[in-house]
């Protein structure tokens, strides 16, 4: 394994090769699509909500390994959780899940899923900590 393989820790490659919760829902309560204009990545997230809980959650679209893996990890973590959990998630949580250092361009890939999720669930286009991106 050379140095660069570290970038794609096994965890990310695993989610990229075998994405969890991938697909569409037939009757989603929440559905939201977003894109990363820089690279053309597109992501759609479908959610079925029951008694305030995320009954089912699916992601679809196309993108790089980082954006796909982060969508897969987020969906896996959120299924069965209270919808409120989405509000609590931060960018740091996502970066921690991915477990790698990212430059500014790839950071946008990593955060696309969280952005889509927050916008879909709460209509939020910004979340605490985002201003750091321009720092």
């Amino acid at each position: 394994m050379s140095e660069w393989d570290e970038v794609y820790r096994e965890n990310i490659l695993d989610h990229y090769r075998h994405p969890r919760n991938r697909g569409l829902l037939e009757h989603p309560d929440i559905t939201y699509e977003d894109a990363n204009p820089l690279c053309g990545d597109q992501l759609r997230i479908d959610i079925e909500v029951k008694d305030g809980r995320i009954e089912k959650i699916r992601h679809s679209g196309h993108g790089c390994s980082i954006s796909q893996a982060s969508a897969s990890m987020l969906c896996e973590r959120l299924e069965g959780q209270p919808l409120e959990e989405v509000k609590k998630l931060t960018r740091e949580d996502v970066l921690e899940m991915l477990g790698i250092e990212l430059g500014p361009v790839r950071l946008k890939c990593a955060l696309l899923a969280l952005k889509t999720l927050k916008a879909g669930v709460y209509g939020l286009t910004q979340w605490p900590g985002e201003e750091e991106e321009t720092a």
């Binding site: 140095e3 490659l13 990229y16 690279c39 196309h62 390994s65 790839r106």
Partner: protein, 425 residues
Amino acid sequence: MATTRTGAATAAPASRRSGFDPRAVRERFPLLAARREPPLVYLDSAATAQKPDVVLAAMDDFYRRYNANIHRGIYAIAEEATAAYEDARAKLARFIGARAPREVVFTRNSTEAINLVAYAWGRSALASGDAIVLTEMEHHANLVPWQILAAERHVELRFVPMTATGELELEALPGLLADGRVRLVGVVHVSNVLGTVNPIAEIARQAKAAGALTLVDASQSVPHMPVDVRALGCDFLACTGHKMLGPTGIGALWARRELLEAMPPFLAGGEMIREVKLTGAKWNELPWKFEAGTMPIAEAIGLRAAVGFLEELGMEAVFAHDRALAAHALERLPEVPGLRILGPPAEKRGGVVAFALGDIHPHDVATVLDHHGLAVRAGHHCAMPLHEKLGVHASVRASFHCYSVPEDVDALVEGLHHAREVFGR
């Protein structure tokens, strides 16, 4: 002669393939010369070129020795600065075959040059019911300014289609021009994604016969091949300094003098006026009418040095060199399983090769290549409609300039094999 000047597709003979030694040229680029073990494999010259020592020295010399604002200072260094700035204009004018320096207006880049035409010419010359012809191959810089204008003035946009191999369907042009409503044909000279060299002289001839002007986005041609605006027969031409070994922040619009004379100013302020009263002003002469405020003086002086450097290499030789590297890439890249090259065969393109590697996302490819010391571009390269037409979301692009060597291509192939190992599924 006219055929080579317009970049018609003929393979460069082997004897002309290297009019210069790219390894010696490389030594003239401090950034590249400093990166030996391992070398930086810079394959993103279509985004911006590296800068030779003479460009850095010229700008440094200006700031250290004769930094002053141009045109109005009545003292020695201001006069020296003015002379250098205007000489830069004259040098660029000669480089692209303009009749006179006053036909060259300095801008920030090609994008600003095209916007200048869209605002100053478009808003004064176009009316509801007129049409503009563009192509499906355009960079966003030659699409969006016209979209804004079209919406504002109820002008129709028409598009020359692009084939699956990334060439313009020129058979469609007569039909697009037939009703006589087309006032402008805007076309990219060399595609920034596919490297396709478009037959500008033929397009301009047809446009002229139909009563339309031709605007050429020459961002990727002026830096890499001989360009002569009179041989092309176009009316407007936009180019940018940083892709032609010069600094960022300086570009140019060339236009026929009578067109510039008739156009109102674009930006208003100092220098572009002859006389100002509180309630009105008279415009300055060409080209200063279009150069409001303090211009990028050091950058113009840097660009002058860049043009000199290119002239020394010879643009025929630069073009032959770039195309030979593209041909080498087209030969070697298919060794990588699943790789799909976008664009035309070698004889129809300049030094740009874009490709898709199976369903591996270009970002992932570029990240692996980065860790091999290769700088490539990944994404839609500001040409989303082009990618849509080719049925890919994005691509990886390798592009060359005078300092590129065949080993760069070999390193690319090796890196791509590695990318497949990591991301193949």
